[in-house]
């Protein structure tokens, strides 16, 4: 019996090995947010449009979407017309210009149109870390009472919007 005890480490390691093998090659990028059910974390960010420093107090009254984008992100180009359409249909969008530079971002909004009610600059990606963002585009749904209820990774299009809009209330 005592001898069997010495096999415990091996057994534990074998389980771990199988686990690693199953996990290998899977897409580790997809992750729902740990923030679901919580309010938007505190922030102190500069507005891209007005140069004011804004905090979570300045967020619009819900429900609204928080969209992480950047001029460097190809999928954001694809997503942009759809966001414009959403804005025109009356959806409130808050843009986070993620790991980006100011001048090209302003140019982008002038050239392609601005779907956002407010745009915040997250140049260092610090707010992105607080929100658990792994890349752009990423979109969070915030409900009427200011609680984050859904996270979507990747572009927003007709298909993903069908999923998302149920949460927007």
């Amino acid at each position: 019996m005592r001898k069997l005890l010495f096999f415990i480490p091996l057994a534990a390691f074998s389980i771990l090995g199988v686990l690693f093998f199953l996990q290998l090659g899977k897409d580790s990028q997809y992750m729902p947010s740990a923030l679901i059910g919580k309010t938007v974390p505190d922030f102190n960010l500069v507005s891209l449009l007005s140069d004011e420093i804004l905090t979570q107090e300045d967020l619009p009254n819900g429900p609204f979407l928080i969209n992480f984008w950047g001029t460097w992100c190809p999928a954001c180009h694809i997503e942009h017309p759809y966001l414009m359409a959403l804005a025109q249909s009356g959806i409130t969008l808050v843009g986070i210009d993620y790991k980006d530079e100011k001048a090209p971002a302003q140019r982008w909004l002038v050239e392609k149109g601005n779907p956002y009610q407010m745009v915040l600059m997250d140049e260092m990606g610090r707010f992105g870390i607080d929100m658990g963002v792994t890349g752009a585009p990423e979109t969070f749904v915030v409900n009427r009472s200011g609680i984050i209820v859904y996270r979507h990774q990747g572009e927003i299009n007709e298909q993903s919007w069908q999923q998302l809009k149920g949460y927007l209330k």
Partner: protein, 645 residues
């Protein structure tokens, strides 16, 4: 031409590593002395070819040979020369080569000392190191050769080293970290050799001790440097993020700390024999696991390493062969060991057992937190990420408990301690600790956790000095001669324990007493933060070797006197067109002033982040003390004697 020679020399080193892994073991089982003695020259040959390969890659970097893919990805002709050299380990392939180089350096160091070991043990130890080298060299050659060429379309210039890595901290951080990680392979090799030869007595523990202490000291330094680098380079003012990559280096450190202590018990008292062997395997396995997690991409991390599934499979296979193989050997062999030494509940053995239990629990806590997202996903429960809140809430209480016991352990005697003696020493310290920290908390209005932590700090300091004083005042010789007689080992322990206390002071005060603010400032503006007045003087354009920058000037005053001039920068790197924020720091013993430029606002205004961090240096000062303690312990005179004397 040279890169091909480099590739060829790595292949040669793989050959020698393979022979090193096989020949001495055959010699051991066949009882052939000639084959056993081949281990030493084979080690040197293997190391020589790895070293040559490394030199050739360094030469390719220094001579801007962009026909080599790896060089073109990680270097640039404008890069300053010291960064060209450190760019050798700036990417995946080169850091693996550094791994292999350091492994062969450790192997050669063992080979130099091999004559102090029994005739059949030494070569087996070298053979085990050969097995590990074979694994890593084949990983390097088959999946990640740094010598792949871009011919005939050689780029004119390289893509540049990631600007985050263009920094002094990153020149020295990886080599130190690897010295530690890989150094645990020596303790591992001793443990496996002990299992193979069946010499599971106290002597293997004595041989393994100085090696373990050396590796532990390097790993401590490596982690300290990494934390320091993250603090000033990432621009958030944080010093530890519980990121999977950080955890990957922290877990071997925790397990290695347990190993250091358990080796001491096994050597001195002959108890915990099979446990110590298991810890040695565990520690090195965690180093390997760290490499796997970082390189395979199964976990997401803020450290952007290129990951590749084929590499993942290879290193997983390696992990399973090495760790699974040694655990199987352990399962078969360790059951035969019996220890018949008993010890009392207040003996030093019991305290060290407690140390081992707590450190193992801490290691498993971090391991669980790191792997939890993986387990959760594999069971189909969905995806989650485990962040700092889990680690802080689970890790902190156990770590504080560990430190409480850490201070008592040295006061106890082997086998059994008189409870009364122990209680008297402890009561005085307990009173002092609670009182002094109570006063401080009353004065500065800290929280309960802060009060507890401060009490632990004073407790550790008081008891450490009590112990030292007890030891030097015993006997008739007088304090100074006695103090000089105490072994280096003891002073190393004292220094490392005090280092823990110093680090705790830093962690505590930086978290409860720091001030941060984000401001909008134009030239001429002033801001008051935590008693300091910061004045923004203006900006200038500067040109670096491979970047251009906006450089701000801030002057900090305290009570009307100028205390520091700070120059935060915003750098635009030419090759990658990447903007980097270079924070400006004024380091001080009790506080750091930290200014970083945020975004440019309208006109000449800037978003500016200003932090006043109290006692943040103490975190790393404690780390350095622990490292020095480890080195002192490793250099103890006892270890220089020959085996069996």
């Amino acid at each position: 031409m040279f890169p091909e020679i480099g590739h060829f020399s790595l292949i040669l080193s793989l050959f020698f590593a393979f022979f090193l892994a096989v020949v001495p073991l055959i010699g051991y089982w066949a009882g052939n002395r000639f084959l056993l003695e081949a281990a030493r020259p084979l080690t040197f040959l293997m190391s020589f070819w790895v070293f040559l390969g490394f030199m050739i890659l360094s030469f390719a970097f220094l001579s801007d040979d962009f026909s080599v893919l790896y060089v073109s990805q990680n270097s640039n002709s404008q890069l300053p020369i010291w960064y060209k050299f450190s760019a050798v380990w700036g990417g995946h392939e080169g850091s693996l080569l550094l791994w292999a180089l350091i492994l062969s350096a450790w192997s050669s160091a063992v080979a130099f000392k091999v004559r102090t070991l029994p005739e059949d043990t030494g070569p087996v130890v070298l053979a085990i190191l050969g097995v590990v080298s074979t694994g890593f060299l084949s990983f390097l050659i088959f999946t990640s050769s740094p010598f792949v060429r871009l011919l005939p379309d050689t780029p004119v210039d390289g893509g540049d080293l990631n600007p985050l890595l263009q920094d002094f901290g990153l020149i020295v951080h990886p080599p130190m970290l690897y010295m530690g990680y890989v150094g645990f392979s020596v303790a591992f090799a001793f443990a496996i050799a002990a299992l193979i030869t069946g010499n599971l007595n106290a002597s293997w523990a004595r041989w393994a001790r100085p090696w373990t202490a050396f590796s532990w000291a390097f790993l401590t330094l490596g982690i300290t440097l990494g934390s320091w680098w993250a603090y000033y380079e990432l621009g958030w003012g944080g010093w530890w993020f519980w990121d999977p990559v950080e955890n990957a280096s922290f877990m071997p450190w925790l397990a290695g700390t347990a190993l250091l202590h358990s080796l001491a018990v096994t050597e001195k008292r002959g108890v915990f024999k099979s446990w110590t062997v298991l810890l040695a395997i565990f520690t090195f396995s965690l180093s390997l696991l760290g490499t796997f997690l970082v390189r395979s991409g199964v976990l997401t991390s803020v450290h952007a390493f290129a990951s590749d599934p084929t590499r993942g499979i290879f290193i997983l296979a390696l992990l399973i062969l090495l760790v699974g193989g040694s655990l199987l050997l352990y399962a078969v062999r360790a059951g035969q060991v019996r220890s018949n030494v008993s010890f009392g509940a207040t003996g030093r053995e019991a305290w060290l057992l407690l140390n081992n239990i707590l450190l193992t629990v801490l290691t498993l806590t971090v391991l669980l937190g790191t792997l939890y997202p993986l387990i959760f996903d594999a069971l189909g429960l969905g995806k989650i990420s485990v962040g700092a809140p889990y680690f802080n809430s689970v890790f902190t209480p156990i770590a504080l408990l560990l430190m409480v016991f850490m201070a008592v352990g040295p006061l106890s005697k082997w086998h059994n301690t008189k409870l009364k003696v122990l209680l008297v020493s402890c009561l005085v310290s307990l009173f002092l600790a609670v009182f002094v920290s109570g006063v401080l908390v009353y004065l500065y209005e800290f929280t309960v956790l802060a009060w507890l932590s401060l009490a632990v700090v004073f407790w550790v300091v008081c008891l450490s000095f009590t112990d030292w004083f007890n030891k030097v005042s015993a006997g008739t010789k007088g304090i100074i001669p006695r103090a000089r007689q105490l072994p280096r080992n003891y002073y190393g322990m004292l220094l490392a324990h005090l280092g823990m206390a110093v680090t705790l002071v830093g962690i505590l005060l930086v978290s409860v007493n720091s001030k941060e603010s984000m401001l909008r400032m134009s030239p001429g503006d002033k801001a008051n933060i935590a008693g300091y007045e910061f004045q923004f003087d203006g900006l200038s354009h500067v040109k670096g070797p491979n970047y251009i920058a906006d450089k701000g000037q801030f002057i900090a005053y305290k009570n009307g006197h100028q205390v520091a001039v700070l120059h935060p920068e915003k750098r635009l790197f030419n090759a990658r067109q990447q903007v980097m924020t270079e924070a400006a720091l004024d380091a001080g013993f009790t506080r750091d002033l930290y200014v970083s430029l945020g975004e440019k606002l309208e006109g000449d205004a800037w978003g500016v982040r200003i932090y006043v961090k109290s006692f943040v240096r103490w975190i790393w000062l404690g780390g350095l003390m622990m490292m020095a303690g480890g080195l002192l312990a490793a250099l103890d005179k006892r270890y220089r004697r020959k085996a069996g004397v």
